[in-house]
Symmetry: D2
Subunit: 345 residues, 4 copies
C-alpha cells in the first residue's frame, strides 16, 4: 500500500486525480491540499463525493510538514508553483508527479522565455522525466520526478511520433490545429469561462504564442534528432471536456494512407490506451477515459498527411496519464484504476 | 456466473446496461440484441467500445431461440414490445427485467387508457414486481419478473414515500414539477431532439397527460392506502442526462423542516444510494451514478413542504436500478458494479 | 429626439438596453456608464459592436455631472445601488427607469427584510410606478420613476393576472415553479456561473427565499385585493437566455380549459407582446424578443389550472420591457425598436 | 415593391431568409414553398412567428405555376434539386438565387465528380454568377442567376483573397481548418445531429473529401490565375450557429504581420460587412449577423501566415449573403434588412 498526497486537489485536474486514486486498491490517500479551500471538507466543494469521502483539505502551507508521511506527491498547480515543494519532497525521498509545466522543458531558458517567470529548479531539472508514458515508459518507471505532459502536447505528440520516427514528413511543414473544451481553462472565476461567454461560440486563442508549443517541439525534436519548429493553434470549444488535435504535414514521398495506418498500428500495437481507428475520432468516445483515439488520412491531392487524435484533457491529458505514470513508478499494473471506457451520452 | 441477454441494447438505456454489466464480475453477457442494428458490431455504433468489446448485435427476432442460454433477460424497448418475449422467457424459467412500461401498472385497464395500446400480458401481470428497489427489496429478490420503474417515478416516489408513510401531507395537494435531460427522449431520429431544436430552450410537455402519472399515483396510493391523484408536469432541459423532481405538498400540521429532514434520514439510513442533503440537489452531482440526492425545504409562509430529488435518468432512472434489482434477484451484493460516484465536470 | 444615459451598460441587461436603443430613431444615447469598465470603449468588451459603436464608457462617478444632458436615465445595477443617483436625477427633472429592485416594493420594510440592505429612498418611493407594462400602462406613461419588474415576476404575473382578476383560483394554493437561463445570474466572475459548473446540470436555488417572491405577492395581492402568499421556486437551466414560469393553482369551481383560455385571450386581446397559444410555450420561440407566450392547461383530475409562460429574461424580463416603458413615458409608439420576433435557431 | 418566392422555406437557411425578407420594406413575399410541410401554416413549424406571420407553405410542386407572380425565386434545397425549377424561372424572366450547390462550380464534370449526381443545367450554367458579394459585386448586380456560395467557402475565401491578390503566399501550402455549428447539417432527422450525439463532443468529418473543397479551389484559382489545390478539413462543433475558418499558408517572403493587416484593411476598406480586427474573431460576435470578422497573425518562427475568419453560417454563409445579393440585383441599398449586429449572449 503506497501513500500519496495531492497538492491542488480542488482544481479540475486535481479532483480528477482524487477520483481515480480513490478506486485504486494499492493506494492510500494520506492528505489532500488546496490553496483556496484549506480547512474545508472536499465534498462540500465537489458534492458528488457527499457521504462517500470525508477528508478535509489541508492548506497548501501544511504540505511540507506532511511530506514525510507519503511516498509520492501529485502537484496540480499553475506553473511556477511546483519548484520549492518538489525540492523538499525529493530531498526526503518522496517521489513527485507534477501535472503543471515547471519541469517539462529541458532548457530553463526556454521555460523562462515562454512562461515569463523565473525558473527556480535548476538543481533538480535533470532528474525530471517527461511523462508521456508511451514515449518514456522505461525512464518513468525508474524516475522520482515526472513532468506530466500538457494536454495539447499529449494529443499532438501521440499523433506525431510515428510520422517522425519513420521520417516520412517534411518537418518544416507541421501545423497543429487543436481544440479543447472549457475545463482546460481551469476552475477559476474568470469572465471568459462563464457559460454565457463561451457557450454558443468558438475562438482560436494564443495563436503562435501558446506555451505548449515549445513542449511539443522539444519532444518532436528529440525523436527527429533535429530542431523542429511548428505552428500550433489552440481553440476553445463549447464543451466541458475533450481535446481534438489535427496534425497536418507534407509527405516526403508518395506513401499510401493504408501504409501510414500500418505504421501507427505497428507502433502502438502493445499500447492499451492508443486506439488506431478507421473512423475519425470524436472526443465523446474518449471522454472520461484514458484512451487516445487516432486516425490517419492522406490527402493525395496535396500530398498532405492528416493525423487526428482525440483525448480527454483531464484524463490522458492530465490525471489519467499521471496515474498511468504512478503505476509504472510503483511497479503496479499500468492500467490500474484507469482501465475503463467512456460513459455515453 | 450468471448469463444474461439484453434486448434493445442500442438505445440509450440499453447501452448503459451493457456498460454496467461488462464490469460485473459475476455476469457473463451471452447475447445483445437490437431491432435496428441486428448483424452489426456494437462498437460500430458506440465507438467508445472500440477494441474493448467485440460482440455483434443479434436481431431481435433471434432472441427467442437464444433464451435458453441465459438466466435473465433485460428488455429495454418502447412500451408494448415486451409482452411476448417476456412470456416466452418466464415459460422456460428465464428471469426478466423490463425497463419499459409494460408491467408497471397493476391494472391493465389503466395501462390501456394511458398507453393507448392493447395490454397483452394478462396471464403474467400478477407475477410482476414494481422494481423500485428501496420500496420492494424483499419482493424483488424473490421475483422472476421485474417492472423496472420509469425515470420520473423513481425520482418522484423516492421523495414522496417518507411524506406519505408519515402521513404529514394533504394528499390532494401534491404537485410534481419534474425536469429531464434529452436522453430521456431516446435515441431516435426525431426533429424535436436535434441539437438545434432543444439546446438553448426549455419547455414543459405532456402537461396533465404524461404516462408516468398513473405509475406514480399507483405506488403513492399503495403507501397511503388510499387513492391518490396528483398533478405531474415534465419538462425537457437542454442537457443530456439527469432528472430533477420538485415535489410540492401542503403540510397537514405544523412541522419543522428539521423534523422532516430527520424523517428522511431515518427512512433511508441504510440506503447506499439515497443521500439526504442540506444543500439543494443538482443533477451534476449524481450524473452517471446510481445515487438519488434529496433535500427537504419547508416554506412556512405557505405551509408547503418542498422535496427536491435528483437522479441520473439512465442510471437510477433506468439501467442502474435494473442492475441493482438484478443483484438482488441473483443474491449478489446489491451495489455490485454500480458502486461509483459521478465524474465531474 | 430624446436623450438618454445608461448606468450599468456593461452588464447583460445594460448591453441589451444599449442594443435596443441604438436602433431607436427617436433616441440619442448621450452617455453610457460602467462601474468596472470606465474609460474603456464599449466595443472592446462587447465586440459585436466593433466598428459600429465607438462610445467610451464613462465611470459611474461621472454620471451625476452628466445628468443634466439627458431626459431619461436607465439604471441597470445590482440592488441597493440606485437610490442616490435616482434622487439626483428626479431632482433636476430627469426621468428614471430602474431595472434593479430598489423601487419595486411598496413597503420599504419588506425591501429591507428580503434584500438585507437599508432602504435609502423613502422620500421618492411613492413616485415609483411598477413597470409591468400591461398592468400599469396609464400610470407608466405619466410617471417619472419606473421600477422595472424582475424577470421572474414579469413571467409569473402575466400568467397569474387573468386568473386573479376573474377570481377563479384558490389564492392560498398558488405555486410557481420557474426556470431561468444563466444570464439571469449576471456577468460577474463567479465560479457557479462557469460553463463547466452549470452546463449539463439543473438545480433549484433559493427555495422559499428568493427576493422576487414578495414582488410577485405584492402585485398579485393588489389585483386580488387581499394579501397573497405563494410558493416560488426558481431553477437554473443550462442555457443562456429564457425563463419558463409554470404556475399551479386549485380552481375554485369547475371551469373548462377552453373557458380559461378565452379569459386569457380576452384579457390580452390588444396586447402586442402577449401571445396566448394552444401549443405549450418554449423559450426558444421568444428568445431575443419582447414576447411573452402563454398557454393554459386544466388538469381536471386534480382541479388544477396550470399556466405556463415563456419570456426572454433580458428582453421582456428586463431591457425590452424597459424600452416598452420608455416609449410610453415619451409618448412614442409602444412597440418602437422592440417589434421583432425571435431569431432561430 | 419586388415580389419574391422561397422554395425550401422550412429548412434552417430558408426560414432565416424569410426572417430577413419579412422586414424588408421593398419586398413582398408572394409565396413560400416546402417539400415536407406543404399545406401547413409556417408558424406551426417555427412558432416564433405565431400570430405575426400567417402564410401557409405551398407544396414544392406548386412552385412552377406560381413563378409568374414573382420577380425572384430563392431556392434553399439540397444539391441536385435546383436545376429544373431554375430553368423554368429563367425562361419567364424570373431571377434566381440558389443557396444550394448546383450552380457554384464552373465545370460540370467537377460537380459530378464531387457531388455524385448528374448535372442537369448545362444550358444555363454559363449564366450563373458566383455570389460572393465582395468578390463579384458588379456581375451580381447584372445577373439573373446567382450561385450563392457555401458557408465554408464564404468564410475561407474572404480570408484567402487578399493573400492571393497580393501573391504573398506559397499557394501549394494552403491548409484550411474550419469549424461549424450544427445548423450546418440542416433540419433533418438524423441521429448524428441529435443533442445527445453532438453536444459535449467535437469531430472532424469528410477530411479531404468535403464538397466545398473544389468551390474554394475554383475561386482561389481564378484570383491567383493558376490552379490551386488545397487541404480543407471541416469540423462539427457543439453549438447551433457559426463558422470559424483558420487558414494557414507559408509566406513567400518576409513580411510583417502589420503589413498583411494593412493589405486586409485596404482590400476591405469599403466593405460594410468585413471587419478586420486586432483581437481574434469569435463566432459569438457575428452570430445572427451578416458580418465576417477577420484577423491576421504571422508566426515568424515558421514563416506562416494564419488568417482567422468568423461568420454566421446561416447569415453571411447563406441567407444573409443571399439578401445582400438580392439587394444588388434589384438596385436596393446593399445592406437593406441585414444591417444589424449580433445579439449577445
Amino acid at each position: 500500500m503506497k501513500k500519496i498526497g495531492i497538492l491542488g486537489v480542488t482544481g479540475y485536474a486535481g479532483q480528477q486525480l482524487l477520483g481515480l486514486l480513490r478506486t485504486h486498491s494499492q493506494i492510500q490517500i494520506e492528505f489532500i491540499a488546496s490553496y483556496s479551500y484549506g480547512g474545508q471538507e472536499f465534498s462540500s466543494i465537489y458534492e458528488n463525493y457527499f457521504q462517500e469521502f470525508k477528508k478535509i483539505c489541508i492548506s497548501s502551507e501544511k504540505v511540507e510538514e506532511n511530506l514525510k508521511k507519503i511516498d509520492l506527491l501529485f502537484i496540480a498547480l499553475p506553473h511556477g508553483k511546483a519548484f520549492e515543494i518538489t525540492k523538499k519532497a525529493l530531498d526526503i525521498g518522496v517521489k513527485v508527479i507534477d501535472l503543471g509545466a515547471d519541469f517539462r522543458l529541458d532548457e530553463f531558458e526556454i521555460y523562462e522565455e515562454w512562461y515569463k517567470v523565473p525558473f527556480k529548479g535548476k538543481d533538480i531539472l535533470s532528474q525530471a522525466v517527461y511523462g508521456l508514458t508511451e514515449l518514456n515508459r522505461e525512464k518513468i518507471s525508474k524516475s522520482n520526478l515526472i513532468a506530466n505532459p500538457g494536454c495539447y502536447p499529449t494529443a499532438s505528440l501521440l499523433g506525431l511520433i510515428p510520422l517522425l520516427e519513420k521520417n516520412i514528413i517534411d518537418t518544416d511543414s507541421i501545423i497543429i490545429d487543436a481544440k479543447s473544451g472549457v475545463s482546460g481553462a481551469g476552475r477559476s472565476s474568470s469572465i471568459s469561462s462563464l457559460m454565457c461567454e463561451c457557450s454558443e461560440s468558438i475562438k482560436a486563442y494564443a495563436v503562435g504564442t501558446h506555451r505548449h508549443t515549445p513542449e511539443i517541439e522539444q519532444e518532436a525534436g528529440k525523436i527527429s534528432k533535429k530542431k523542429i519548429t511548428l505552428t500550433f493553434t489552440p481553440h476553445l470549444i463549447p464543451m466541458n471536456r475533450g481535446i481534438l488535435s489535427v496534425i497536418y504535414a507534407k509527405l516526403q514521398k508518395n506513401i499510401e494512407e493504408e501504409e501510414i495506418k500500418k505504421i501507427f498500428l505497428e507502433k502502438y500495437k502493445n499500447e492499451k490506451f492508443i486506439r488506431i481507428k478507421d473512423n475519425l475520432p470524436e472526443t465523446r468516445w474518449v471522454k472520461g477515459s484514458n484512451y487516445c483515439d487516432i486516425s490517419v488520412r492522406v490527402d493525395k491531392r496535396t500530398k498532405t498527411v492528416i493525423v487526428i487524435s482525440a483525448i480527454d484533457n483531464l484524463m490522458k491529458g492530465a490525471a489519467g496519464q499521471a496515474i498511468q505514470n504512478m503505476n509504472l513508478m510503483f511497479g503496479f499494473e499500468e492500467t490500474k484504476s484507469i482501465d475503463f471506457i467512456s460513459i455515453f451520452p
